[in-house]
């Protein structure tokens, strides 16, 4: 493998990021722009690697980097820690816990997620109660719990 061939997945990632930003700026939704960017980078990496021996490794490497980029975007979008960091970043003199919670709190976090889960039918609202609806997110949650049990020996909700 030449140095150039080895660097193709990294170049694919750059193309992925550029394509995603352009697609988002061009009017695609965030999720679609991520798919569009990923496809651009994947096509580039596959074509530039050629049918020789470098292809499987480069594709695996590119997919792993694309997965990281997707999570980087997702972290900025949904992660509570990132949001807390940004609140502190905007207030260099510091914030007390109460001030921090007045800027970002469960009253902001829960309704957005709950609305999304109700809208997609993952949770149903019936006679003043919330019930399980479609199982997709529940299966994901159970898979995460299983992984946590393997790694940490626990899976409790609200464990910090």
């Amino acid at each position: 493998m030449s140095l150039t061939e080895a660097l193709l997945p990294a170049a694919g990632l750059l193309l992925n990021a550029a394509g995603q930003v352009l697609a988002l700026r061009g009017g695609l939704s965030l999720l679609r722009s991520v798919f569009a960017g990923f496809t651009c980078g994947l096509a580039f990496t596959a074509i530039a690697s050629g049918p020789e021996g470098a292809l499987p490794g480069n594709l695996l490497c590119y997919c792993a980097l694309g997965y990281c980029y997707f999570h980087f975007i997702n972290l900025g979008e949904t992660a509570r820690r990132v949001r807390l960091l940004r609140e502190l970043y905007e207030n260099p003199d510091g914030l007390t816990e109460a001030e921090l919670l007045s800027r970002y709190n469960s009253r902001e976090i829960v309704p957005v997620r709950l609305a999304r889960l109700l809208g997609s039918g993952q949770i149903l609202s019936r006679e003043g109660r919330y019930c399980t609806g479609k199982p997709a997110v529940l299966i994901m949650a159970r898979a995460v719990s299983l992984l946590k049990r393997v790694l940490f020996g626990r899976c409790a909700v609200f464990h910090s």
């Binding site: 080895a6 660097l7 021996g53 490794g57 949001r83 502190l88 970002y104 709190n105 999304r116």
Partner: protein, 164 residues
């Protein structure tokens, strides 16, 4: 193909070492320990390949390293998601735990509070040395400011708001 097998193999070995260490004792600073294990394994493997005079070109070494690093980063990002439970998954699991009768809304509202959803994440910032507490105020460390700056900059490029 050889470089792919080496890259994936080094990651697999370091993953198994990480599992074994975690089974013995959960480290206080998990991310730091995980990175130490995985990058040490990569460094050791590259040194061994060099010492035993493996028929590798500079590009092969780079390919092995890049593949292993990309797998390490993928795992790290997944691991951080496991460490801090997603609110959506918490909501779904909480509702599921109530069974077929469902969870009364007032009980649900009482459970979804700052103590469960936000305060543990503030403690994470202190534990990961992203922030420190002084005179009752939280402030960012240099590491926290770098991370916050990175996300602020990139979300500016994307034209997105504060998120969260």
């Amino acid at each position: 193909m050889t470089t792919s097998l080496w890259g994936a193999g080094i990651f697999l070995v370091s993953f198994l070492v990480h599992l074994a260490v975690w089974r013995v004792k959960l480290p206080a600073r998990q991310t730091k320990t995980l990175l130490s294990i995985m990058f040490s394994a990569l460094g050791a493997a590259l040194c061994l390949l060099r010492i035993f005079d493996a028929p590798f070109t500079a590009g092969d070494y780079l390919g092995v390293a890049l593949l292993d690093i990309s797998l390490i980063l993928s795992y790290m990002i997944t691991y951080s998601a496991l460490e801090a439970e997603s609110p959506s998954l918490i909501i779904v699991m909480t509702v599921a735990a109530a069974g077929s009768a469902g969870l009364p809304r007032d009980e649900f509202d009482a459970m979804m509070n700052d103590d469960n959803l936000v305060k543990p994440r503030i403690q994470d910032l202190l534990r990961d040395k992203m922030a420190y507490l002084e005179d009752g105020k939280y402030r960012l460390t240099a590491k926290g400011a770098f991370m916050a700056g990175l996300f602020t900059f990139y979300r500016g490029i994307l034209g997105r708001g504060k998120g969260g």
